[in-house]
Amino acid sequence: MKIAVCIKQVPDTEARLRLNKQGTWIEEEDLPFVINESDECALEEALQIRDKSGGGEVVVFSLGPERVREALRKALALGADRAAHLHDPAFSLGDPVATARALAAAVGREPFDLVLTGSQSDDLGWGVTASLVAARLGLPHAWLVMGIEVENGGGSARVVREMEAGKNEIFRLRLPAVLEVQAGINHPRYASLKGIMQAKRKEIATLSRAEIGLAEGEAGAAGSRVEILKVDFPRAGTGARILEGDVASTASQLVELLRAEARVL
């Protein structure tokens, strides 16, 4: 099967975040970036489906600045066949509609049997970009996918979708479709040394706004209705009482508070 996978590069969840000078985004300098967690699961799922189907191709797409090449290189090392980097200053600061417009235009340049994505990015967390891609491509979709079984020689898939409170719903969907994978669907593999070596010879195509056929007012900030003005740390609410002192002292303070003040011991 020929499968497209959309991956976003996001700050490592472990990273300590700082704001940029203008307070309009986080300071990206020295920040470690990784492939978004659910996107890495989408890639793993794509590799497994490709291999099970006995052939085909996995093509990864990512929109973002220069650093994104590193994420694409990693995807190739993990086993993807080709990559496309949507790389153009015109793509920056896009809202989900603008980003989806670009991703759909890029993915739509070739026919795919299946499009896999994550469910939510760990940075902007819109949760809608991939569904917008599906809508633009005129494909059925599902958000929060926890299981995919391709059936009928690739004509349909049995999909498990997460619902609230520990339930899953199961349905059949015709392919091609956009399936938005949820973290936990699988355990992504690690790159092998051989994979890393092979990745060096694989192609990363660079696609600009003009190359995917978008007009100036359709991409990035210019094509967006939503504009982020400021980012900041949430006000600490009432906040926890932070216990001070060395480890042993904070531990015994806590035990005392739980017993005498909160009365939960």
Partner: protein, 328 residues
């Protein structure tokens, strides 16, 4: 153009609580832009629900009633809502930010040629228009955003951000049918069934004390210190999603929007950052303790007591202090 629509979500005849929060948000938006809020209901034989919605202080309840809308499938729901929106031109279409509504709100936005603003937690009307607040980076930060132009927008609101108003108002809004193009309501999903995500379910909902462990533990080989703390407290062990996704603990230990919703007397969150999907599962706890090396972790905003530092030092020390303080 101008109205604000709150899209009600329901299942088996019952409204999802998020529906009434969407109504609250719609009213707030309507106030901010000088418009009116309507409730919109898609379903089949939903008169009881429509009557309930009519008493929420909305201007009207719009109902698309058709057998093809009886239970949720994105295709028919999207087509029905897009058709109605194109006819009546609401300025804002507001959904609860739930697993069901987010599944099709993007399709609605696309069909209605609207912008999308998801997971809003606050809005403020000012001289330059409305400023919208939403969490980013898993709740570690928040962003304030503005909407350009006056085209339509699809918005979703986070659970708990716009509490449902008291519904005992005397007013009853008119219930108005929405036209649906029945021929276009083709289900693209062939439903096969519903299953439990976890095989054996440990019931954490009745536990008095829970020690919940997060990704900060780093691996399954590090779990013994958590087990020892739980034993010293007489607590059950719960976990955040990544711990389960990585296979370090079984799925039935998951706490949060996809897992169990708990309300123990004591909840000790160890190496958990405090993303909203986790918080919704534990905010009913009586007393919450957070242990985290990041002083900015959002879990500290909801906790009663916090210790900032390395869990590998603090957890064993806490276990020791508990055992030593026991009357012998």
């Amino acid at each position: 153009m101008g109205g604000v629509w709150a899209i009600l979500q329901h299942r088996e005849g019952k409204a999802h609580p998020g529906s009434w929060e969407a109504v609250t948000a719609a009213k707030r938006i309507a106030e901010a832009i000088g418009s009116t809020a309507d409730a919109v209901l898609l379903g089949s034989e939903v008169k009881t629900l429509a009557d309930e919605a009519a008493r929420t202080g909305v201007a009207s309840v719009r109902v698309a009633d058709h057998p093809a809308l009886a239970s949720y499938v994105p295709g028919p729901y999207t087509v029905a809502l897009v058709g109605a929106a194109k006819q009546e031109q609401p300025r804002f279409v507001v959904f609860p930010h739930t697993y069901q509504s987010v599944d099709y709100m993007a399709g609605v936005a696309h069909g209605y040629d609207a912008g999308v603003l998801s997971e809003v937690i606050a809005l403020q009307a000012g001289a330059d228009g409305v400023v919208w607040t939403r969490p980013i980076l898993q709740g570690k930060l928040q962003a304030r955003a503005r909407v350009r132009g006056d085209g339509p927008m699809v918005v979703s609101v986070q659970a708990g951000a716009f509490p449902a108003a008291d519904r005992a108002t005397g007013q009853t809004a008119p219930i108005v049918p929405l036209a649906v193009d029945a021929g276009a309501l083709q289900a693209e999903r062939d439903l096969l069934g519903v299953e439990d995500a976890a095989a054996d379910v440990v019931d954490l909902t009745a536990c008095e004390r829970i020690v919940a462990v997060g990704r900060g533990i780093g691996g399954p080989d590090k779990l013994p210190i958590i087990r020892e703390l739980a034993a010293a407290l007489g607590a059950e062990i719960g976990a955040s999603r990544p711990v389960i996704d990585n296979g370090w603990l079984p799925r039935d230990r998951q706490i949060g929007s996809s897992g169990q919703t708990v309300a123990p007397k004591l909840y000790v969150a160890v190496g958990i950052s405090g993303a909203i999907q986790h918080l919704v599962g534990m905010k009913g706890a009586n007393c919450t303790v957070a242990i985290n090396k990041d002083p900015g972790a959002p879990i500290f905003n909801v906790a009663d007591y916090g210790i900032v530092g390395d869990l590998f030092e603090i957890v064993p020390a806490l276990t020791k202090a508990l055992l030593e303080s026991r009357p012998s």
